[in-house]
């Protein structure tokens, strides 16, 4: 089952929400739509769900043109940030609602609800009402409700954002293992790059209604094609070509970079040498599993990360070494 999106466009008045978005995804991929708020990622998800209509472009699942199918006939599952369980129904009734709509026999619904309750590990809560559940439990029920009718596509709209940090990481793992177990094509909207990195097979990073870059998490992190993606995927040092040429010529690998490109070096790809010279430590932050250092370097200030606890102290002079193969040339805009 392949989801094909081609040149999808949408404008709300003068604001352009989607400016010609195209990508394809197929089962059993987990795709993250990543970007800052207002980048159009939620609009895109809602369009796939059928909750918003595109102004133009193609939206297909397999051979079926989705734009002609209303939301309630698409057979997808959706989970929102706000849990959105039906407050008047019990957990079991919530999970079984899609099956009841479909007209399944009561005993069939009961059996399927039982399977899902086991799957989300909450069989003891079948008769509770949503308000009696914690946020994490509610979101697992919402997930089970979306999965109950065996949807062709699972859509997750920032499902973890409302949860506190510990529950978030737990549920993140759970969602991923459920998805892999069921082999279902899943699209998740998130603004959290760490979430996208840990969950996704593919990341579609969006900016101002267009795709900034799409690829595997590794590609987006290590080989960003533009400064926006590089910044969004984590901390990085942006170094102008003339500085590279002067201070770290080995990064150029002999070639001249294309015009309007700058070097992007991740903090963990810089090594500091206590016996070397040429740079001075400005500040050291200990973050537990790593230490982050600000270094005064002739080419500007650098951010460097070392694993664990560092012996370096502010004021010490150090040498700076860049790992040659870990530098990405990104477009400056």
């Amino acid at each position: 089952m392949q989801l094909q999106i081609r040149n999808l466009r949408k404008a709300y008045g003068a604001t352009i929400a989607l400016d010609g978005v195209s990508f394809t995804a197929s089962a059993p991929q987990f795709v993250c739509l990543l970007g800052p708020s207002g980048c159009g990622k939620t609009t895109l998800l809602r369009m796939i769900a059928g909750l918003a209509q595109p102004d133009g472009g193609e939206l297909r699942l397999g051979t079926q043109d989705l734009t002609l199918v209303p939301a309630r006939r698409r057979g997808f599952g959706i989970v929102f940030q706000s849990y959105s369980l039906f407050p008047n129904m019990t957990v079991a009734q919530n999970i079984g609602y899609g099956l009841r709509i479909r007209g399944d026999a009561p005993e069939r619904i009961k059996a399927r609800v039982g399977i899902l309750l086991d799957m989300i590990r909450l069989p003891q809560l079948a008769d509770r009402y949503p308000w009696q559940l914690s946020g994490g439990q509610q979101q697992r029920v919402a997930l089970a409700r979306a999965l109950a009718p065996e949807p062709k596509l699972l859509l997750l709209d920032e499902p973890l954002s409302a949860l506190d940090a510990k529950v978030r990481t737990e549920l993140r793992t759970e969602i991923r293992s459920l998805q892999q177990q069921l082999g279902i094509l899943t699209l998740m909207v998130t603004h959290d790059q760490e979430e996208a990195l840990t969950l996704a097979d593919r990341i579609v990073c969006m900016r101002q209604g267009a795709i900034a870059q799409a690829g595997t998490p590794e590609e987006l992190y290590s080989r960003p094609t533009n400064r926006f993606v590089a910044d969004f995927m984590g901390l990085s040092n942006m170094i102008a070509p003339e500085i590279v040429r002067r201070l770290a010529p080995h990064l150029l690998d002999g070639d001249a970079p294309e015009a309007d490109r700058i070097a992007c070096v991740r903090p963990e790809d810089i090594r500091l040498d206590a016996s070397g010279t040429g740079a001075r430590i400005q500040q050291v932050q200990f973050l537990g599993n790593l230490s982050r250092l600000r270094v005064d370097w002739p080419g500007g200030e650098l951010i460097v990360e070392e694993t664990g606890y560092t012996q370096l102290r502010p004021g010490m002079e150090v040498g700076v070494a860049f790992k040659a193969d870990r530098c990405a040339w990104v477009s400056a805009s």
Binding site: G50, S84, L85, P87, Y97
Partner: protein, 549 residues
């Protein structure tokens, strides 16, 4: 230095004591005391013995059972009809795209601006023996009785039903509906599976309010009830017609039972509504759906037309030379000579001003004190303040007659004065004013009050600089609410008027009873004009306050 602080603390304590003491004394003297008197009268047998003899003789009378049965049938029918119509209006305005939403809500709210007799008057002008529709169609309908009363009561209860149901419909999470849609649920299914179950307690609460309003209403029954005797008219007949105070007291107590029950259940329902409601994450904005919105527009506007036509016709008829024969416009009906002319209208304005001013001050003082007192003291006072809403106006009025017309009591001097009318109205609408005040006080940021206190502000300063300004819009609303209700109420004050001190709604009733229907219409129009003016003033003051703050 310590002396000054001690003095300041002492003066704060005195202020707090006054804030609590004065309203509490008013509640005890003017609410608890009369209510206890009614109970005492109902138990006092003709031979001076204490017992249930009066109850036995009331229950033995066939009139009583007929009136009770009629009251129940009428209230249940009104509840069913008004609930359905209220749901249509509330759903149309909250969950559909209908044109003229504000106008629609305004039209339905019209009966709140008029004395409760006006619905009855309007129906008589439309469907009575000389009614417009009756004459035009040349048909013979008897509007006096069950059907007329049902329509009048429905119109009267509808604004409150709409208010409650609309509030229940307002808090909705759009995502819940989208989740249902993606799961395959159609619009109709979403209504029955999600919307309806989630406003269950709102509907229940509205049903109890409609029931209470209907079973205790007197004005409509007096104008259009005809031979259809209900408990409210029964009390009036016993007391005013036969001067049988003990029997009136018994019927009053019996009328108190269903309203107390309905009131209690309504409180329970309101609390449950709170428990199951989820905070709306994304507010619902209905999309234009012709299949739903077109029929809803037609239905809602047809319903809204009812109060507009019924009340509009009263205004129109007041200017017509001779209804329904000569439709020249004239002001002659405005020259009201009998039952004191316009004197009662001015009395009503004064009474209403008094009730509103005293009520607002007392409620604010009480609320301010309650916020600063321990829970153990607050709880019983809170309950006492909720009680007036459960007491029908007729019972309260009767209680006032029995209490304040008793010779030898220190407060007897109040009987027959406008002051007593004002006090009675204040007590009658105490609960709604109290709840509004408390809601307002809860919204005053406590951090602001604490900041002022830590800067050294005593209670008087706090009231002047923080609480007062913050509460101003709420107090303005409470003031005008008390004023407007007081202008149009009939049920309580009907027992308290005398030949020299009377009110507008009683004049309308007397004019109508005497057959001067057009003059009654003119009088009603004048009363409504005052209320509309007050409503306008309220809007203006709220807007000015909004800009100032």
């Amino acid at each position: 230095m310590t002396g000054t602080i001690k003095r300041a603390r002492d003066s704060d304590r005195w202020l707090l004591a006054a804030c609590l003491g004065v309203p509490l004394a008013a509640l005890l003297i003017f609410f608890a005391n009369p209510l206890a008197t009614v109970v005492a009268y109902s138990l006092m047998e003709p031979d001076g013995q204490i017992g249930l003899g009066n109850y036995a003789s009331v229950m033995a009378a066939p009139n009583f059972w007929r009136a009770t049965a009629n009251s129940l049938v009428m209230s249940l029918s009104t509840t069913a009809v008004a609930l359905l119509l209220g749901l249509v209006i509330a759903y149309a305005t909250q969950r559909c795209r209908v044109p003229g939403r504000a106008l629609l809500l305004g039209a339905v709210a019209l009966p709140l601006l008029a004395p409760s007799l006006v619905q009855g008057l309007g129906l008589i002008f439309l469907l009575g023996r000389n009614g417009l529709i009756t004459k035009l169609l040349g048909i013979e309908i008897n509007i006096y009785g069950f059907w007329g009363l049902l329509i009048a009561n429905t119109l009267y209860a509808l604004p409150q039903a709409v208010l409650i149901i609309a509030a229940a419909l307002r808090s909705a999470d759009a995502r819940i509906y989208e989740a249902a849609e993606v799961l395959g649920s159609s619009g109709v299914r979403r209504f029955f599976d999600i919307t309806l179950p989630n406003i269950k307690f709102g509907l229940l609460s509205a049903a109890f309010i409609i029931f209470t309003v209907t079973i205790t209403d007197f004005g409509n029954a007096a104008t259009i009830g005809g031979d259809y005797a209900i408990l409210a008219t029964e009390i009036y007949g016993q007391v005013v017609g036969q001067m049988n105070f003990n029997m009136g007291a018994v019927v009053g107590i019996l009328l108190l039972l269903p309203t107390l029950l309905a009131f209690y259940l309504e409180r329970v329902a309101t609390e449950r509504q709170f428990g199951s409601g989820s905070e709306a994450a994304v507010p619902l904005t209905p999309a234009w759906t012709p299949a739903r919105d077109l029929p809803m527009t037609v239905a809602a506007w047809l319903i809204a037309l009812l109060p507009v036509v019924t009340i509009g016709i009263v205004v129109y008829a007041s200017f017509v030379w001779l209804w329904p024969y000569r439709f020249d416009l004239t002001l002659r009906h405005y020259a009201v000579k009998i039952s004191g002319g316009y004197e009662p209208l001015w009395t009503t304005v004064q009474v209403s001003l008094g009730a509103a001013l005293a009520g607002t001050l007392l409620l604010f003082a009480l609320g301010f004190a309650l916020q600063r007192l321990p829970r153990a003291i607050v709880k019983p006072i809170y309950l006492l303040c909720l009680l007036p809403a459960a007491v029908p106006g007729l019972v309260l009025g009767l209680a006032y007659v029995l209490t304040f017309n008793a010779p030898g009591m220190p407060w007897q001097a109040l009987y027959g004065t406008a002051t007593l009318l004002a006090v009675c109205n204040m007590m009658h609408y105490w609960t709604q004013g109290f709840l509004t005040t408390m809601t307002g006080l809860r919204q005053v940021p406590s951090a602001l009050e604490e900041t002022a206190a830590s800067l050294g502000a005593g209670l008087p300063r706090l009231v002047r600089d923080v609480t007062g300004p913050w509460m101003a819009p709420t107090l303005v609303s409470v003031f005008f609410f008390l004023f407007m209700r007081s202008m149009v109420t009939l049920s309580a004050v009907v027992f308290l008027v005398t030949a020299s001190v009377s009110v507008a709604s009683v004049s309308i009733m007397r004019l109508d009873e005497a057959g001067f229907t057009s003059q009654a219409a003119a009088y009603a129009t004048c009363t409504m004009a005052v209320v509309v003016l007050a409503a306008g003033l309220m809007r203006l003051s709220l807007r000015l306050l909004g800009r100032g703050g």
